[in-house]
């Protein structure tokens, strides 16, 4: 990238910094409500508690969360007496976030990420509570969850919690810097990054050894975001991470789809010092080296390369290096090299779009290829990309593609 181009992007970033920090965050920073609002944004609460598909009112709940066990609908967080948090006390609210227990003493499904929120101190949950009280009450009943027996019995959660839930606050690590500690708090507490980016066991609980190494949910694979040696974003600088979360663009990729929501609703509103802290923490996480991969058949690589050269190079460049800040360099993509190729396959099938932010309003998009490439072709293409990656990964099969295609046809009305 040449210098002039760098400058124009920095200029856009500077403009973003001015609007989002100076005007909102700092003006309101003094009040408890402002603190609560900030933490609510950091927690991305609006994302789950708003039924966007049906033009729902923010925080009024009703969004269906697809879990491996069934669909769980989110509750109404507005202070409505009948259907929302109107009759909840601060203690009730703290208990929900800290222990996963509802107002009537019922155990809450861990789709509500209290295993992360439990790391938040009381003063932070109180601030969130105070902020939510200021919302206009909205009467909104949530639909019945669609869960199979016995998960439909709340009692089953108790067993889950006994096995997997620890109620504890994060202790400061005196060996590490302030920034690192703040970053870990944001990542593991309100930010609940691991809810998507950490692998789960068969009961949906985080696997400690898979911490931020990538996780599968809602037919997406949220990639490895460890930034140290061998990590999925080892070649990202701290500045890259800050740009990605703050402005929605980085040299490597832009936030798309669900991560696009996270940036739009949550991280673009965070203070730069907090984004830097997150970056500092992620960059400290080393990962284990990739295992050796068996070779992919030459013929598959040749087919994959032909398709790539003819169909993908127009944006991602013939040598897979992309255009920084515009089109992802696929050689270093943590989605391409992921153990689970779901996301890269899905993006090829249905397309993808970079989130538009005030700093970067262009919703750069990749078109869908589902109509154009069959399962074998996509499998060969993805295998080629994984072979050419800086962190080579194994081949993928046509049946893996087919499974995702069938899911999309079923859930999105099919190819058009």
């Amino acid at each position: 990238m040449n210098q002039k181009q760098c400058l124009s992007i920095s200029a856009a970033l500077a403009a973003w910094a001015l609007t989002s920090f100076a005007t909102e965050a700092q003006e309101l920073a003094s009040s408890q409500v402002a603190k609560g609002r900030y933490l609510t944004q950091a927690g991305d609460c609006m994302a789950c508690h708003t039924d966007f598909d049906n033009d729902g009112i923010p925080y009024a709940g009703g969004r269906g969360l697809e879990t491996p066990f069934g669909v769980i609908y989110t509750p109404n967080l507005t202070p409505d007496d009948e259907t929302g948090l109107g009759r909840w006390s601060r203690d009730d609210f703290y208990r929900a976030l800290n222990e996963g227990i509802g107002r009537s003493g019922e155990h809450l499904y861990p789709a509500f990420p209290y295993p992360y929120f439990t790391h938040m101190p009381r003063e932070d949950t109180d601030a969130i509570y105070d902020y939510l009280r200021t919302l206009t009450p909205v009467r909104a009943e949530k639909p019945e969850n669609d869960l199979p027996f016995p998960l439909s019995l709340r009692g089953s959660i108790l067993g889950w919690k006994t096995l997997f839930f620890e109620d504890e606050e994060l202790r400061r690590d005196p060996e590490q810097s302030e920034a690192w500690n703040r970053g870990r708090y944001l990542v593991d507490g309100p930010g609940h990054c691991g809810a998507c980016h950490t692998g789960k066991n068969f009961l949906g609980a985080d696997l400690e050894e898979e911490y931020l190494r990538g996780g599968t949910l809602e037919h997406w694979f949220a990639p490895n975001i460890r930034g140290g040696d061998n990590g999925g974003i080892s070649d990202w600088s701290e500045r890259d991470i800050v740009e990605f979360l703050g402005a929605g663009r980085a040299p490597h990729t832009a936030p798309m789809q669900r991560m696009g929501e996270v940036v739009a609703i949550s991280t673009q509103n965070l203070e730069r010092s907090d984004l830097s802290a997150i970056a500092t923490y992620l960059k400290s996480l080393d990962d284990r080296p990739e295992p050796e991969r068996e070779d992919i058949e030459t013929e598959r690589l040749e087919v994959g390369e032909a398709i790539y050269f003819d169909s993908c190079a127009a944006c991602h460049d013939a040598d897979l290096t992309g255009v920084p800040y515009f089109f992802a360099p696929l050689v270093s993509s943590n989605k391409v090299s992921a153990e689970d190729p779901t996301t890269v396959i899905r993006v090829i099938l249905e397309g993808a779009r970079a989130v538009a932010t005030d700093a970067a309003p262009t919703p750069l998009s990749m078109p869908p290829f589902a109509w154009k490439l069959n399962d074998d072709q996509i499998a060969d293409l993805v295998s080629f990309l994984r072979h050419r990656s800086n962190r080579p990964a194994g081949s993928v099969s046509a049946s893996q593609v087919s499974e995702i295609r069938n899911y999309l046809i079923e859930h999105q009305g099919g190819e058009r």
Partner: protein, 244 residues
């Protein structure tokens, strides 16, 4: 609408359908801070009909194939309209919106125009072919005693020259307009993307050296007058996209 909600809509990428006001109110409405609509799996992909769609009778098809084979012949220099299946291309085109002139202005009156005024036939392309082919055969039967498709190659050639030079005239339509349309269509059938039924196996593009539906030549801008041997690719690929 409260401020918070506006902000959310502004920052989120919502599906196009959610943004649009109901059709019966205004057509469609966009904006109001809601950003640009987009949906996954959605695109205005090429409409290319089905392989079954056909307009010609078998005799018409034979005649058009015979005309096309004179206009773009198969010869020692390479393949022609026959190998490219240009007749399949136009058969399908005439069965669709093109044949019906759906996107052309077809209101009357239809006086004969000057040459600079372009297509002025009252017949949409499909109808023009139907009537034109009938008149072509009538002319050939009158002159040679057989329909066009039974003529010798030399006679076919001279009949087409007669149409092109306006030496042959039809009664109910302009023979020149009909000829010009056939010439335009055979070139389309020889050189359009194979998705439309002609240019079979990319034969037309191979013949002239056109690399087809590519989208990136950055590596080749500096060719300095050298030949670039890039295999042609269609919208649906090329042989190298398929494993043996």
């Amino acid at each position: 609408m409260n401020i918070e909600r506006r902000r959310v809509l502004k920052t989120l990428f919502l599906a196009g359908t959610a943004l649009a006001a109901p059709q019966w109110v205004f057509g469609r409405e966009y904006g109001r801070g809601q950003g640009v609509p987009w949906e996954p799996l959605t695109g205005d992909i090429p409409y290319h009909g089905t392989l079954e769609e056909r307009f010609f009778t078998s005799q018409e098809r034979e005649t058009v194939a015979a005309v096309f084979a004179i206009l773009i012949p198969s010869d020692e220099d390479g393949p022609g309209a026959a190998e490219a299946e240009a007749v399949t291309f136009i058969d399908r085109q005439l069965a669709g919106f093109y044949g019906a002139a759906q996107h052309w202005y077809m209101k009357g009156p239809f006086p004969k125009g000057a040459a600079t005024q372009g297509y002025q036939s009252e017949h949409p392309p499909a109808q023009l072919y139907r009537l034109g082919l009938r008149e072509l055969d009538l002319h050939c039967e009158r002159e040679f005693g057989v329909p066009f498709r039974r003529l010798s190659e030399d006679d076919r050639h001279s009949v087409l020259e007669g149409l092109d030079n306006e030496e042959i005239e039809f009664t109910d339509l302009s023979a020149k307009t009909f000829f010009d349309l056939m010439l335009e269509n055979v070139i389309e059938g020889f050189f359009s993307d194979p998705i439309y039924g002609g240019n079979r196996d990319l034969i037309g593009w191979r013949y002239v050296g056109f690399p087809g539906a590519r989208y990136d030549y950055r590596e080749f801008v500096n060719h300095n007058g050298a030949r670039l041997d890039l295999p042609p690719v269609g919208l649906m690929g090329r042989p190298a996209w398929v494993r043996n």
